[in-house]
């Protein structure tokens, strides 16, 4: 439907919408995050939910203590290699539709601890990430910005065809392999179906 006509109809008290729009409108305004913090970013995440920044304005006030009831995993902090299997396991336990925000430098790349022997170089090596927030730690405004970006992403998801949410796609993977503790590193070091090393030019190669 033509957007101008839609606005004109709304002025006359007639709401014209599609099932997809209505469905996504409901979904995007009731994203319940999981009550799960990893490091200092978690403090900013907690601040975001409190009265001053008030994430409740966006329909995300209920932090669920169980992954079964949560829609959003905010990976808020450094993911150590010892913790990574647990993060993947929690993500596996969440019901579709589920989304992931990688919050802060550590969660997206390892951050200041990138060369550490015990720090995972980004949680996107094991689970799909929807929104990345840089920062160390990101301010609550940045988390709200990421949350709005996620809402826009949900609102734009078609219910059929390419790019539909995974709970409407029977072929989409439901469970992601949990890495095992190896003798020298996590095994495997990355989930090949989720993560590919971005093509970068390195001086001297």
């Amino acid at each position: 439907m033509d957007n101008r006509l839609k606005i004109e109809l709304e002025r006359q008290g007639i709401v014209a919408t599609t099932l997809q729009e209505l469905y996504n409108w409901g979904r995007k305004n009731s994203v319940w995050p999981m009550q799960f913090g990893l490091a200092c970013c978690a403090i900013e995440m907690i601040a975001t939910t409190m009265a001053r920044y008030d994430l409740a304005r966006f329909g995300a006030e209920v932090f669920r203590s169980s992954p079964r009831q949560a829609d959003l995993l905010i990976v808020s902090g450094t993911v150590t290699k010892k913790m990574a299997p647990q993060v993947v396991r929690l993500y596996n336990q969440m019901a579709e539709p589920r989304y992931v925000i990688a919050m802060g430098a550590c969660a997206i790349s390892g951050g200041p601890f990138k060369q550490g022997y015990n720090v995972l170089k980004g949680i996107d090596r094991y689970i799909p990430v929807d929104v990345y927030i840089p920062g160390c730690p990101p301010r609550p405004e940045a988390l709200i910005e990421a949350f709005i970006a996620l809402q826009k992403k949900i609102a734009a998801q078609p219910l059929t065809g390419e790019g539909r949410p995974r709970h409407l796609d029977a072929d989409a993977p439901g469970e992601f392999p949990v890495p095992a503790f190896g003798e020298h590193d996590l095994e495997p070091p990355a989930n090949e179906s989720v993560w590919h090393a971005p093509l970068t030019q390195i001086q001297g190669t």
Binding site: K82, Y117, F181, E183, P189, A190, A197
Partner: protein
């Protein structure tokens, strides 16, 4: 507090054959330390804690040092006295080598606060503390085989994505690219 030399002679008077050596520190801090013989270390530590004048009742810190040359692992204890308000006294112990004779006596029975720090040194340096009540890895997982704080530790080759590589990381990233092109036959 008594000087380190005085403490050394007090130890030698109280524990026969203690085998304590003075490790001098030539820096301006002049924080000399005592090198203990592992077989007498528990007796010496007990004396240091229970002696009325010294009364080192507080173990502040335990750390490890890896010496590839001449080839041993070292453990360093920092002692203070809460009762006498003095310290620190620095104790050292050395293993025979870095490969198979890496046992040292645990001082956890003397100072309980050594427990987690000795576990950490066991984890990261590979020093085996005999007499420790619960010697397990503290930071890394149980299946882990390496000791990351040793100088010859090589971390896993996960340098496939280094957007701003420089120095040692750049070398590892280039090395990774080369290995990748060798394995894919390009």
């Amino acid at each position: 507090m008594k000087s380190v030399e005085e403490i050394k002679s007090a130890i030698e008077a109280a524990v026969p054959g203690a085998g304590v050596e003075l490790v001098p520190n030539s820096s301006p801090s002049a924080q000399h330390s005592l090198l203990l013989a592992p077989e007498k270390a528990v007796a010496v530590a007990t004396f240091l804690r229970d002696d009325a004048e010294l009364a080192f009742d507080f173990l502040s810190n335990v750390t490890g040092v890896d010496w590839p040359e001449p080839g041993y692992l070292e453990v360093v204890y920092h002692l203070y006295s809460m009762a006498k308000k003095h310290g620190p006294l620095i104790l050292r112990m050395r293993t025979e080598n870095r490969i198979d004779h890496v046992e040292l006596p645990s001082l956890t029975p003397i100072w309980r606060s050594a427990e987690f720090q000795e576990r950490e040194i066991f984890d990261l340096f590979g020093v085996v503390f005999t007499g420790h009540p619960d010697l397990r890895r503290l930071l890394m997982w149980d299946e882990f085989k390496d000791h990351p704080m040793r100088k010859d530790y090589v971390d896993p080759d996960d340098f496939e994505y280094e957007p701003t590589a420089h120095d040692a990381v750049l070398e590892r990233a280039i090395e990774h690219r080369k290995q990748l092109s060798v394995s894919s036959g390009q």
